[in-house]
């Protein structure tokens, strides 16, 4: 059982994450010129790997220049690690090429599936947590880490429903994947909050059940609200709003347990002006400082 004061040795965390223990932002195409023009004081930028799997043009031009000035986190959204079928070897090759080109400090993906056979569904879909799924996810992560020759971080999911055939609790499933594969954890605090509300779990209990010694990066984001057939509050991880107060508070509690770790403000929809995102990043930086980060 992982305890709530499970501080990793610095070497463990350094091996899992080369990003500085500061706030970072998702790099938006609409902000390329502003970032290069003003070179804001920010810990790192993160991009979705698939957006940069193009031959040339402005995306590579700007990412190349921005990479010279900032650490980079490469975040995959299309590998489909939880798929029933084999991983797309072509896609792994594209990832490998991108990593070779940009030498990101971190590569992460999701505990989810997004492809079935040849069809890509462009969403992070939920898994039944049982032994066959556990074996398959571990095999896929082994294949990724062997191909890329580096450890990856796996992000805990936001989910809206469960499977009757699940036999393993989600946090325990993640703990076992990380123990067996040696990958790190991308701790998405918004996903914890969203899933815990949706599945009536206690967020702190869930947080404490995760393998916090393996956290290599944290994600913070906003959610949208919906309701299920009983009219019960259902939270949607839509990355379309500022980080909620409840998520900030859970983030504070996570930092108390694990110390300062690179933290991304994720925003993919209704993207505001760059300075609005910077203000959220500064809020995270402040909490990281309190947690013992840079002076």
């Amino acid at each position: 059982m992982i305890t709530s004061c499970d501080h990793a040795s610095p070497r463990t965390r350094a091996a899992l994450c080369g990003l500085p223990p500061r706030a970072g932002l998702g790099l938006k195409t609409g902000h390329f010129r502003e970032v290069l023009g003003s070179l804001p004081d920010i810990g790192f930028f993160e991009v979705h790997a698939e957006n940069y799997m193009v031959a040339g043009g402005p995306f590579h031009h700007f990412l190349g220049l921005i990479r010279e000035a900032y650490p980079l986190s490469l975040h995959g959204v299309g590998l489909s690690i939880g798929a029933e079928g084999p991983l797309d070897v072509q896609h792994l090759k594209r990832l490998s090429t991108l990593i070779e080109r940009y030498q990101p400090q971190s590569f992460s993906e999701h505990l989810a599936w997004s492809s079935h056979g040849p069809v890509f569904l462009n969403d992070l879909l939920p898994l039944a947590y049982d032994t066959p799924t556990l074996d398959r996810v571990c095999e896929h992560i082994d294949q990724v880490q062997n191909t890329l020759q580096r450890p990856m971080l796996l992000e805990n999911p936001a989910t809206y429903l469960a499977f009757e055939r699940s036999t393993i609790d989600e946090a325990e499933f993640i703990r076992e994947v990380i123990r067996r594969s040696g990958c790190g954890l991308l701790l998405d605090v918004n996903n914890i909050y969203v899933s815990c509300i949706n599945h009536q779990r206690d967020p702190l209990t869930y947080l404490d059940a995760l393998p916090l010694h393996a956290v290599g990066e944290i994600h913070l984001a906003g959610f949208a609200e919906d309701a299920d057939s009983l009219g019960v509050r259902l939270l949607i991880d839509d990355h379309g709003a500022p980080v909620d107060q409840a998520v900030w508070s859970l983030y504070r509690q996570a930092l108390e347990r694990i110390g300062p770790v690179a933290t991304l403000i994720e925003r993919d929809n209704q993207v505001p002006a760059f300075n609005v995102l910077m203000a959220e990043a500064q809020q995270a930086d402040e909490l990281l400082r309190c947690a013992g980060g840079r002076p």
Partner: protein, 252 residues
């Protein structure tokens, strides 16, 4: 069928029931929660098409576009996680989509927007300097065998409609007033530095550029094209940094 096969099919076909074997901790109907995933998939794919085809959407309105996108998504889901490729076959779909038949130029506008996306992401190849190009053209002896390599972003589109004018009108005030819609136009699309540019060229120039792209020599391409202003066309290609290679074709 496997769990993910059933799940995947029901995400794409909104007429299918919610898959079996799902549950929610509070006893809510799993269908109301499955609906979140279905909505995410439909919405994200529809948004990807909206982003790629802004003028097509302006021409038919968002409501029609999203309804058409829904039919397209169900029949042509993505086959790759690279969303920049998604909808590359939308123009062909529009050609056969009966409800859109009253807008006969819609498919060609989609083709033009697709070429713009392709040009935006095309490989980076440095253009030849104007001096190098001038020197090659000054060599009268080699001119007949000269082959002109064009930037990978460059494409031509031949349309029976005023596709360039229709597209250009939607970059400003989105009015088609004053445009003769049935005037055939030939679009030249290329990326000049970081900017994608669109030009209307003469039919002969379009044929000539198409033949250069197919690997014909300057002379062969000229012979197979109807009359056009060669110096003006070459000046356009040079000024837009579209010439990336020059070499002499070996005689057969």
């Amino acid at each position: 069928m496997s769990t993910q096969a059933v799940f995947s099919a029901a995400l794409l076909d909104t007429g299918l029931p919610c898959p079996d074997g799902l549950c929610s901790v509070n006893g809510a109907d799993p269908a109301s929660r499955f609906a979140v995933y279905r909505n995410n998939v439909q919405r994200s794919l529809s948004n990807a098409l909206v982003d790629s085809y802004p003028v097509v959407m302006q021409l038919v309105g968002e409501e029609f576009f999203r309804a058409m996108a829904g039919v397209f998504i169900q029949n042509h889901p993505p086959r790759s996680p690279l969303m920049s490729d998604y909808g590359s076959d939308l123009a062909d779909f529009i050609s056969g989509f009966e409800p859109a038949s009253s807008v006969p130029y819609l498919a060609d506008v989609a083709r033009l927007e697709r070429l713009r996306t392709q040009a935006y992401h095309a490989a980076d190849i440095a253009p030849l300097s104007q001096e190098r190009i001038a020197a090659a053209f000054a060599d009268q002896e080699g001119l007949s065998r000269l082959q002109i390599g064009l930037h990978p972003s460059l494409h031509v589109l031949d349309s029976a409609f005023a596709v360039v004018d229709i597209w250009a009108a939607h970059q400003h005030d989105a009015t088609l007033a004053g445009i003769n819609l049935d005037q055939a136009q030939h679009a030249l699309v290329l990326r000049n530095g970081l900017e994608v540019e669109v030009f209307a060229v003469d039919p002969g120039a379009s044929q000539f550029i198409g033949q250069l792209k197919a690997g014909l020599s300057l002379t062969e391409a000229l012979e197979s094209a109807e009359a056009f202003d060669l110096s003006q066309t070459l000046a356009l290609l040079i000024s837009r940094q579209a010439i990336t290679h020059l070499h002499h074709k070996v005689s057969p």
